[in-house]
């Protein structure tokens, strides 16, 4: 006997309409914006511009995917900006002062990202500090550490060191290829961005590890009782986040071509926004990779399109906020059901 209550009912017209709006509203806003810019701005519709936008947003999107991982296990990571900045300085330090090739720098940076993720995981999982607080504190520590390492200076080739000599190394071509290279017409950052999105989508949606991550985020106690190694999955998620943030940093570093101390500073808010928007896009109601990518693309479209239209940066902020709000209205206000993902809490666990 099925409890009659749960027999699926045929949805009313209004209900289906609402579901449609929830599912496609955000996409519709994005498409409408794109259409507008395509019509008004001839330069917008060039292939170059499309790849340019995707390339520009790749680091934000990748860091956003990291935040998404943390949200998946019911947490959040406010240290992605700091981690990306750290990656930039460390890559520069390794190549310019350590005089190593790009491959070594990449290895060091990725290792650093894993370590930062591990530190976050330790603080959250073992020391039971709530994610918001732990990652906030880590981000202060990492930024401070980075600046201590480089004495607050941007590292560039030919810089004079404190012992009076000139830095021996430089950003090597293999490293810079991360930004400047391309496969056919497709720039490397775009390939990395799409590949990571697809990979994460596959893992989250199509493997049991992905499901387990979701389960940990949605009900950690149920997951624990079902035998899922909750602590392990949370650790993996934060380390994954650290890794992705450092990849974002690698791309930023290759683009900037020097160990800019301010790199990564502006990444955090956008990365978090993108991951949160990802939750609401497509009516899925839980963190997901393509949603996050779409959120990033919307930002890129707005920044580029608004610039072409000639809006000053502050009008862009305004426009960004308004478009974000409209998209959110579509996703939430017309949604019949509640989404159930919690991102970030002061709950120690």
């Amino acid at each position: 006997m099925t409890s009659a209550s749960l027999a699926p009912k045929t949805a009313s017209f209004a209900e289906r309409g609402a579901a449609f709006v929830v599912r496609w509203g955000f996409i519709a806003v994005t498409v409408a914006l794109i259409a507008f810019f395509v019509i008004t701005e001839p330069n917008f519709r060039t292939v170059d511009n499309v790849f340019g936008m995707l390339k520009f947003i790749a680091p934000t999107a990748i860091a956003g995917l990291g935040v998404m991982l943390a949200i998946t296990v019911g947490g959040i990571d406010l240290s992605v900006g700091a981690s990306a900045g750290f990656a930039v300085s460390i890559a520069a330090w390794t190549m310019v002062i350590g005089n190593q090739v790009g491959g070594v720098a990449i290895g060091v940076v990725l290792l650093g990202g894993l370590l930062i993720g591990g530190l976050n995981a330790f603080l959250i999982v073992v020391a039971r500090i709530p994610d918001l607080l732990a990652t906030l504190a880590t981000s202060f520590v990492i930024v401070g550490l980075k600046l201590l390492i480089v004495d607050g200076k941007s590292i560039s080739s030919q810089m004079s060191l404190s012992d009076g000599t000139t830095a021996p190394g430089k950003f090597t071509a293999d490293y810079l290829w991360l930004d400047r290279g391309s496969l056919g017409p497709v720039p490397i950052p775009v390939i990395i961005f799409v590949a990571i999105t697809a990979l994460l989508w596959f893992i989250l949606e199509h493997t049991r590890w992905g499901r387990a991550l979701y389960a940990v985020g949605a009900n950690a106690e149920a997951a624990r009782l079902a035998g899922i190694r909750v602590q392990l999955y949370r650790t993996v998620a934060y380390m994954g986040c650290g890794l992705l943030a450092s990849i974002a940093g690698l791309l930023l570093g290759a683009r900037i071509g020097q160990g800019d101390v301010s790199a990564g500073n502006s990444l955090l808010l956008d990365a978090v926004a993108v991951a949160l928007v990802g939750v609401s896009v497509l009516g899925i109601g839980r963190p997901n990779a393509w949603g996050t990518a779409l959120g990033a693309i919307l930002i890129a479209v707005m920044v580029t399109g608004f610039t072409m239209v000639g809006l000053p940066y502050y009008a862009q902020d305004f426009g960004k906020g308004i478009v974000l709000l409209i998209a959110l209205l579509f996703s939430f206000t017309f949604s019949r059901r509640r989404t159930v993902v919690t991102a970030g809490s002061t709950t120690s666990s």
Binding site: M1, T2, S3, A4, S5, L6, A7, P8, E205, H206, T207, R208, W209, G210, R211, A212, Y214, A215, G217, A218, N219, E221, A222, A223, R224, L225, A226, G227, I228, R229, G285, R286, R337, V340, V341
Partner: protein, 530 residues
């Protein structure tokens, strides 16, 4: 201590226990809630674990299931002592558990099918790639063991949408997957109706006959009489009693509560109400249901009985201002009554004990006193400033009148056992002398003496004169015990409306199942053992 491990038949004497506990103790901080428990669980036997609210049943189960590794003493599986440090480990040794809190078993956001096969996510031997077709098949197979045939379109829905009873069925189905050797069920029927419970019992008996050992916790003695091979009683964390069939219920009750209690109370005091305190006129309870008319009178306890989905909660919520009638009207004390929100109802003296205490009533992390005072902040304050003494006094009064087992008004509500939390919730709502008290499944997880205490308070309330009380339940025995007047609700329609002494169990059950006569297996078990 009573020797607890003599199997009944000769053939079983040679069997060795699946799991044996010796000297198991558990403490929360310095509070020892389980002391030196020694028990054996034999294959092919159903052990009923009894005890008042807070006796330590769930605590024992948490230790047995690996959910609480911080126990002392030895737990041996097949004679080998091991430390049950995690649920995975317990499961690997064939110990499968359904915990008391259903919410701890459901992952919202995953589909119902995925929830049924949740354990597979942790199963390293499974292929890492998801196979949703296989999951669906597995889920269907698992649900079929309970006789549930939920359509695929339902299985694909978000599990968050399941009602508490469906969710309970889901966790049961999950626990029965694979081949457990010890199956532990902590109050599995408290959210089920009799029909579903009976189907569960059929399954359990079949499983027992295959050699499974089962531990069963319940506050319903009818079920235990119908099911158990052995009864173990815990009191204050100590094993007080262990006996085989036939059960000496007087002794069991005595050992459970520490004093003599009658199992059955004969109703001699069925009251007749006088004035109509609330009236429902022409209100459809469910989308397709006809309009309903109904009166609640002062001076009597009205029991509304119905299966899951009968519209009980809808009715309670209408009266409490949580929902608004689609058509028709309500009146209270002769005046029109159209509460827009719970605060309106409250102001008119209408209170609701909701069906899901965790989600709808408790403030986690708060003290007992603060949990109790929350609807009455105005009464607990002067010029908006809270008076702690008033809150404590009210809480103490609730604790005393319902016998809540707690360290005191300042203890955290989280530290109370499930039944005691329920008493706090009921006590909260009755403490203000309501005009109309609505209690939706108020006896969920409550032990027999607490049930009597709550029932007694309800009778006191109506005896005082101008208050009306409505109890909503899907349990015939609960209703028979507490209600003066009984209404049976089926799919939003009143099937029977009679005073308790003018009808009998058989006609109530008949009306109860009126709409489902084809479902013969759904006859609830006899209420009380002889």
């Amino acid at each position: 201590m009573i020797e607890s491990s003599i199997p009944e038949g000769d053939d079983q004497a040679t069997l060795s226990p699946v799991v044996s506990l010796s000297g198991v103790s558990v403490a929360y901080g310095s509070n020892v809630v389980l002391t030196d428990v020694t028990l054996d669980f034999f294959p092919g036997r159903i052990t009923a674990l009894l005890g008042a609210n807070g006796a330590g049943k769930s605590t024992l189960i948490k230790a047995l299931s690996g959910a609480n590794p911080r126990y002392s003493g030895d737990i041996a599986v097949d004679g080998t002592v091991l430390h049950l440090s995690s649920p995975v480990l317990a499961k690997a040794h064939g110990i499968s558990t359904v915990h008391q809190k259903v919410a701890d078993g459901i992952v919202p956001g995953l589909s119902i099918a995925e929830n049924v096969v949740l354990d597979d996510l942790a199963n390293a031997s499974r292929h890492p790639l998801r196979n949703s077709k296989q999951s669906l098949l597995d889920a269907r197979a698992a649900l079929a063991t309970l006789g549930l045939d939920w359509p695929d379109s339902l299985l694909a829905q978000d599990a968050a949408r399941l009602s508490i009873s469906d969710a309970q069925l889901l966790v049961l189905a999950r626990a029965l997957r694979g081949t457990p050797r010890l199956l532990i069920l902590d109050e599995p029927t408290s959210a089920l109706t009799a029909a579903e419970a009976e189907r569960l019992f059929t399954v359990l008996r079949a499983l027992r006959d295959t050699g499974l050992s089962i531990v069963y916790v319940s506050h319903r003695f009818g079920e235990i009489e119908a099911l158990a091979d052995r009864v173990v009683v815990l009191r204050d964390g100590v094993v007080q009693h262990s006996s085989e069939r036939p059960f000496a219920w007087h002794e069991i009750l005595h050992d459970m509560l520490g004093r003599a209690t009658e199992l059955e109370q004969t109703r001699v005091d069925v009251r007749r109400g006088h004035d109509v305190v609330a009236r429902v006129s022409g209100v459809p309870l469910l989308a397709a249901a006809p309009r309903l008319d109904l009166e609640v009178r002062t001076g009597e306890v009205l029991g509304i009985l119905g299966l899951i989905g009968a519209g009980k909660t809808e009715l309670a919520e209408l009266l409490a201002g949580l929902a608004r009638p689609a058509s028709g009207s309500l009146s209270l004390g002769g005046e029109p009554y159209a509460p827009k929100r719970p605060s309106d109802a409250l102001r008119r003296g209408v209170v609701l004990v909701p069906e899901d205490r965790q989600r709808q009533a408790l403030l986690p992390g708060w003290s007992v006193a603060h949990n109790i005072s929350i609807p009455f902040l105005k009464l607990s304050s002067a010029l908006g400033t809270l008076r702690g003494a008033r809150e404590t006094a009210r809480a103490q009064q609730v604790i005393d009148s319902l016998g809540v087992v707690t360290a005191g008004p300042n203890a955290s509500i989280d530290d109370l056992s499930g039944g005691n939390q329920q008493k706090v919730v009921v006590g909260r709502w009755l403490s203000a002398g309501p005009r109309l008290a609505l209690l939706d499944e108020p006896f969920r997880g409550v032990d027999i003496s607490a049930r009597r205490e709550i029932g007694g308070r309800l009778k006191d309330l109506v005896a005082s004169g101008d208050a009306g009380v409505v109890v909503f339940s899907s349990d015939v025995d609960e209703i028979l015990e507490v209600a003066d007047r009984i209404i049976v609700l089926v799919a939003g329609v009143v099937e029977l409306d009679a005073y308790a002494d003018e009808t009998d169990r058989a006609s109530i059950v008949g009306a109860f199942l009126g709409a489902r006569t084809r479902d013969h297996s759904a006859v609830p078990p006899e209420g009380h053992p002889k």
